[in-house]
Symmetry: C2
Subunit: 241 residues, 2 copies
């Protein structure tokens, strides 16, 4: 299988060599790779073996192959800092780090509560909900997509209000919620869903940080359950404790 007989696949060695190439120096570091055929010749392997190595490095976010153009070294910009606390509000938070922040409605619907959401919102399973899908953008760069569920009877016009204002806070205010807070936040991470990748304009194998939380009004009544997917490449969450 590999003629080096040390049990390491060739494509892994090629990947390591490429890693060394691109990680060599900061200033003189190349920003693009030689073409696949030349790499294959240089390493004495088949083009497919080079491609296997490139695919692995691309999955790590180190390379970005573009059909017809070449394979480029990924220089990832610093991540935008997203502070999470009891009073987290997207627009206000992000505008501390970015020049422009906006939320946009990308979908909505009505559905009945499954067990998990019913529990979070302290409703009976099957209760009527409004679902709201939003895309959050800072400085023109999509950062996250979020799905929120609201009790339909209390927030009948939440979708329209959000579509107008681009702000959950304002949409809630239009329903008489002057203040709200979150209590706890569950954090997981996974590969981005297909639909989310399209909205976020990211690679189909990108990683998202998933944040689930509920918001409560001043009386402690749950008013919103949300599940946000943050692009891990572009955002870091900061929790103060």
């Amino acid at each position: 299988m590999d003629d080096t007989a040390d049990g390491i696949a060739r494509w892994r060695k090629v990947a390591d060599e490429i890693r060394a190439m691109i990680g060599a120096a900061g200033a003189g570091a190349p920003d693009r790779l030689p073409v696949e055929t030349e790499l294959a010749a240089r390493f004495g392997v088949n083009r497919h073996t080079v491609r296997r190595a490139i695919a692995a490095l691309a999955a790590e976010g180190l390379l970005r192959p573009e059909r017809g153009r070449g394979t480029f070294v990924e220089r990832r910009p610093d991540r935008i800092v997203y502070p999470v606390g009891a009073r987290t509000r997207f627009t206000e938070n992000i505008s501390q780090n970015a020049r422009q922040a906006a939320g946009r409605l990308i979908g909505s619907g009505r559905e009945s509560a499954d067990r998990h959401i019913a529990n979070q919102l302290q409703l009976a399973p099957g209760a009527a909900l409004v679902r709201l899908e939003s895309l959050n953008v800072a400085d023109g760069v999509p950062l996250s997509v979020g799905t929120s569920w609201f009790p339909a009877d209390r927030f009948p016009r939440i979708v329209a209000a959000y579509a107008e204002t681009g702000s959950i806070t304002k949409a809630l205010a239009a329903h008489g919620v002057a203040d709200y807070a979150r209590r706890s936040t569950r954090i997981t991470a996974e590969r981005v869903a297909h639909d989310d990748a399209e909205h976020l304009g990211c690679a189909s194998d990108a990683i998202v940080i998933v944040s689930e939380s509920a918001n409560y009004d001043a009386d402690g009544v749950p008013i919103q359950f949300s599940r946000s997917r943050f692009l891990a490449d572009r955002v870091e969450l900061v929790f103060d404790s």
Copy 2:
């Protein structure tokens, strides 16, 4: 390239069909895939095309191919809940959710502070540090690996103390630190590093939640900076606010 002429690669269609196969039902759902040659015959494509599809689904965590055995459907267990707060301590936290929790020393060393860590520990760049690598296991399942840095002059024997006790808290106590707390936690997510994957016993393309934080003693002096990598498949972090 594909004879369907709708611009969708064949391997993607095969992936979708396999996804449908395994996601069919809860009870009667298969727990393993037919062998690659049979899938290739069934879908009328080459075995490599099937493999490309399987690789994509494996990257999503849906399949787990095992050499010589077959390709299995991944049924992921519920994640262990890991509460994060000012007084987060691994052993105490996890033992609320698991029967057994333990930390094990997997590496250590001495190094000098780079800019980032020096800043976090309020030291001059180049200051002497002790680095401690640990593997955290609950119920025999590796959950996370962590790297911690301590000022070398204040915690000269921290590695030995941790090796003996398996607890950072106790190792710090041996150096006279009765209490400590964290102030903020930075959360990112990325693909697991190669070395970490070996310790965690996970797939090489698994996702980890990366948590960076500093701990401070009762006088507010930073005593530890740590970078923990939690397997996203096995753990969820919960922050109270």
